[in-house]
């Protein structure tokens, strides 16, 4: 048990320090980008006070905007203050699933840039099943989710097949398939099948209530059943990677494909299967987002979930637990953006700057170690620092 904790500490230390350091630098940027703070530059005392106050207020706003807001609870129930937390969870849900799609690929030695495209295909398929058919509630939503997984699984599987049969690099193929998915979405929204009757804006009909993921904490909170789907999926992925024979093959190919090949493991099979499963995971993310939050397919269904997923997986060091935690962190940061703007006047974009800084520091373990004077025993294997075909 102690050993397990020790290895967790080792694995988590660098991401944690990167996180702290990013917030530190982020704070300085927030303060220095504020004209009021800068106006005080001539009197050092005043400058420092306003500098500190600005940073403090901003981080308070981030907390209030993502976890608990006393102002919302005031005069209402204590419970209402958790509205931001509910939003955080809603935002984290698709990130968990798409993040797993990237993390699992990493474990097989593949760099899945294509979560975005797979996410979109998942949403398209779920949307179609959701509004087209009229089925009993539980069956309907299950079928819609499965359709999303299957469509995106095929979309990811294409990448695996191309890599296994022709040696095409998955990074290039997935980037191209992301473009195809985005423009396919734009086109399909204008087709008769998908265009909402009596509407000229590119938006599909809402999925029927029987296909929607229920809001289980009442109508006031946006939190929906998707978070449980995401967490159960995370557990299944953990089992697959660490306990199953298939996961053993994945990890073997990822860690040393030569030795895996010599041991009779078919790398082509592993590449295809991994990409199919990863596609299905990202597709489930898209389906859950559509059936739980958006309810209607529109051109912005993908957001930047698929790309943030790469960041999330990197921050989580491609482990299942790490990816889930990182998804919650990113969900929280994104949720807090609006509050940050309305309370402190700090631009929403600063949240993205902090996210980028976290990843930057994760990718440069040597820098973080230097800053915090960490000795050698902490593993500095950075996935982001791996080579092109590493």
């Amino acid at each position: 048990m102690l050993k397990r904790f020790e290895s967790f500490r080792k694995a988590a230390l660098l991401p944690f320090l990167a996180f702290i350091f990013a917030f530190f630098i982020g704070g300085i940027i927030i303060a220095l980008s504020d004209s009021e703070v800068l106006a005080n530059i001539k009197s050092p005392g005043k400058f420092l006070t306003s500098f500190g106050a600005k940073i403090g207020n901003s981080y308070l706003a981030i907390f209030q905007g993502s976890i608990y807001d006393v102002n919302l609870a005031r005069g209402e129930s204590f419970f209402k203050g958790f509205y931001p937390l509910s939003d955080t969870v809603v935002n984290a849900t698709p990130l968990i699933l798409a993040g797993l799609a990237v993390a699992l690929a990493f474990k097989s030695g593949l760099f899945n840039i294509g979560a975005q495209g797979q996410f979109i295909f998942g949403a398209i398929a779920a949307s179609y099943v959701g509004f087209k058919f009229d089925l009993p509630p539980v069956l309907h939503v299950s079928l819609a989710l499965l359709a999303g997984m299957f469509a995106a699984g095929i979309y990811g599987g294409i990448v695996g097949l191309l890599k296994a049969k022709t040696g095409a690099h998955e990074v290039i193929v997935t980037i191209m398939l992301n473009y195809i998915a985005s423009f396919f979405l734009l086109w399909i929204l204008k087709t008769k099948t998908f265009l909402r009757p009596g509407n000229i804006n590119p938006i599909a009909p809402e999925v029927r209530p029987s296909a929607q993921l229920p809001l289980f904490l009442g109508k006031d909170l946006r939190i929906h059943l998707g978070i449980f789907i995401a967490l159960v999926t995370a557990a299944v992925v953990w089992w697959l990677l660490n306990k199953s024979t298939l996961g053993f093959k994945f990890r073997a190919v990822g860690a040393n494909s030569n030795a895996a090949k010599t041991a009779g493991i078919s790398t082509g099979f592993v590449t295809f299967t991994t990409m199919f499963i990863c596609g299905a995971l990202a597709g489930l993310g898209g389906a859950v987002q559509l059936l739980g939050a958006n309810h209607a397919l529109s051109s912005d269904i993908g957001g930047s979930y698929g790309f943030d997923a790469i960041t999330v997986a990197l921050l989580g060091r491609a482990t299942v637990l790490g990816t889930v935690l990182a998804a919650f962190l990113f969900g929280a940061l994104q949720t807090s953006g609006l509050n940050l703007l309305s309370v402190t006047g700090t631009p929403v974009e600063i949240v993205q700057v902090i996210q980028a800084l976290i990843v930057l520091f994760i990718a440069t373990p040597a820098l973080v170690k230097f800053i915090f004077r960490i000795k050698k025993d902490v593993s500095d294997k950075s996935i982001a620092a791996k080579g092109w075909n590493g």
């Binding site: 024979t245 298939l246 078919s266």
Partner: protein
């Protein structure tokens, strides 16, 4: 120039890699440092070369204390080092590699003329036969090594440290290196020669220091017998002679007929190869590295892509099926590079021990790995094969070379196999581990398995094989008895029938 090491101690955590070591090499002298893998030889040399800081002790040159904190300090003090793994840029020429870090410029442009002249001069003086304009990637390993030596000499190294220089060389190249060392010595260079090969030590050294577990356990002269040296090195009596009893080969198990192997661009690697191996027999393929023997082993495992002919195991054709089928048909495979092909460094020892049997009973049940079966198997194998490790959960990369090979052997030989294909099974191993591998292969022979041994080590081939097939440029020059002389075998390996 003389170099003296006084009381050098270097610790890594609790491990004492060097324990107050005293050594001295005189002008024009070859000091051999003999020791098993992990004895602390390389650590000591890295300290001397300024790559690692010592915890205590000092280094004296011509009786005067010098501070060496970096390789640059070492070079300035006249110490040069040739590493076991070469530090050369493959796509650069010899001259470009040698000037790297000391480039001379003329009006801002790189000029190599002076360097080339100097390289030619050194090359002629020591009979190195080096073309300064040759690309490194086109040169054989032995020549690349000479480039490293020239690099050290270019910067006026008076003491040359050679770290396991023969590990990567063929018998011929080794002999050439040894004679070069003698020439260097005669011209006034002192050499520290790190190795664990007894024959080489006896051939060139003026004095021999034996290191075991970080301590100098003996300073002896080269007249000491190989047996004595080996037992000093290992710390117990070592039997260098292999006890091979006569075997009575049974039925033919592996039959290879008209095998041709091509590389991706259609070039012939192996042509018209035919041989068979009976149960209880060791057939060795002897040859200089790079003559197609590695590909033969890989072809038997279906790891080569372009192969024609026939490979029959117990009467059924396996060529053209998958690696998985080769494994299932009863072939144990000990690959040439255990780090690259035999093991997954980041996986635990227990996981490596089931690498190619992870999806069969009892290790897998309904697609799920059975932890208890895997642990039981690992504990058994660790005990049976004497794998020295703290825990079966430690990563394979944490093991020493000998123990890594034991993991591969344990996995492959414990399966239900009829044939053992061993490709360079003792490469880079220390005496104790080599002894272990040899005994194990003979035990497999005694138990009736058919063994294909691919080796570049003449002694090994002669000691173990029942028949020796000599390969040269992808063709078998002839199959001889192990009673053949070393000289005859060496000549055949060089292509003389």
């Amino acid at each position: 120039m003389s170099l003296e090491i006084k009381g050098i101690t270097k610790k890594f955590g609790a491990l004492v890699a060097n324990d107050s070591i005293n050594l001295k090499v005189d002008n024009s002298e070859i000091l051999a440092i003999l020791g098993e893998n992990g004895a602390g030889k390389s650590t000591l040399m890295n300290v001397v070369y300024g790559l690692l800081p010592a915890d205590s002790g000092e280094i004296l040159i011509d009786g005067k204390k010098v501070e060496i904190n970096s390789p640059a300090d070492a070079l300035a003090a006249g110490i040069g080092m040739v590493h076991q793994h070469f530090m050369l840029v493959p796509v650069f020429t010899v001259a470009e590699n040698i000037v790297l870090g000391h480039e001379q410029t003329q009006r801002g442009l790189l000029t190599l003329t002076e360097a080339k002249t100097k390289i030619k001069k050194i090359s002629d003086e020591f009979k190195f036969e080096i073309d300064p304009d040759a690309l490194i990637e086109n040169l054989p390993v032995g020549v690349q090594q000479r480039v490293e030596i020239i690099r050290a000499l270019m910067y006026d190294a008076k003491v040359l440290i050679l770290d396991e220089p023969t590990a990567v060389l063929t018998p011929q190249e080794t002999d050439e290196l040894l004679s070069m060392m003698r020439i260097l010595k005669s011209k006034g260079t002192s050499i520290i020669f790190i190795t664990h090969k007894l024959r080489e030590v006896k051939a060139v050294a003026d004095q021999i220091a034996v290191i075991r577990r970080g301590k100098v356990v003996g300073s002896v002269d080269p007249s000491t017998s190989q047996e004595e040296l080996a037992s000093l090195m290992v710390g117990r009596a070592v039997d260098l002679e292999v006890d091979k009893v006569n075997s009575s080969p049974g039925a033919t198990i592996l039959k290879i007929d008209d095998l041709n192997i091509y590389d991706g661009s259609g070039r012939v690697i192996v042509s018209n190869l035919s041989f068979d191996i009976k149960s209880g027999e060791i057939l060795a393929i002897a040859g200089v590295q790079g003559n197609g023997q590695s590909e033969i082993a890989r072809a038997i495992m279906n790891l080569e892509a372009h192969v024609t002919g026939s490979i029959m195991v117990d009467g059924s054709e396996i060529l053209g099926s998958t690696v998985h089928e080769s494994i299932k048909s009863g072939i144990a495979f000990i690959p040439e590079s255990r780090e690259l092909d035999g093991l997954i460094g980041s996986f635990s020892i227990a996981e490596n021990l089931i690498l190619n049997i992870h999806d069969i009973e009892p290790f897998a049940k309904l697609g799920q790995l059975s932890k208890s079966a895997i642990i039981d198997n690992a504990n058994e194998r660790v005990k049976e094969f004497d794998i020295r490790t703290q825990s079966i959960d430690d990563s394979a990369s944490s093991l020493s070379g000998g123990n890594k090979q034991k993991v591969v052997l344990a996995r492959e030989l414990s399966r239900n196999v009829k044939i053992v294909v061993a490709s360079q099974p003792t490469r880079g191993l220390d005496v104790g581990s080599i002894e272990f591998v040899h005994e194990r292969l003979l035990a497999e022979r005694a138990s009736g398995r058919a063994i294909l041994l691919i080796s570049t080590e003449l002694d090994e081939v002669i000691a173990l094989a029942d028949r020796i097939a000599v390969i040269y440029r992808g063709e078998i020059l002839g199959i001889v008895e192990p009673s053949v002389t070393r000289e005859k075998l060496g000549l055949m390996m060089a292509g003389v029938k």
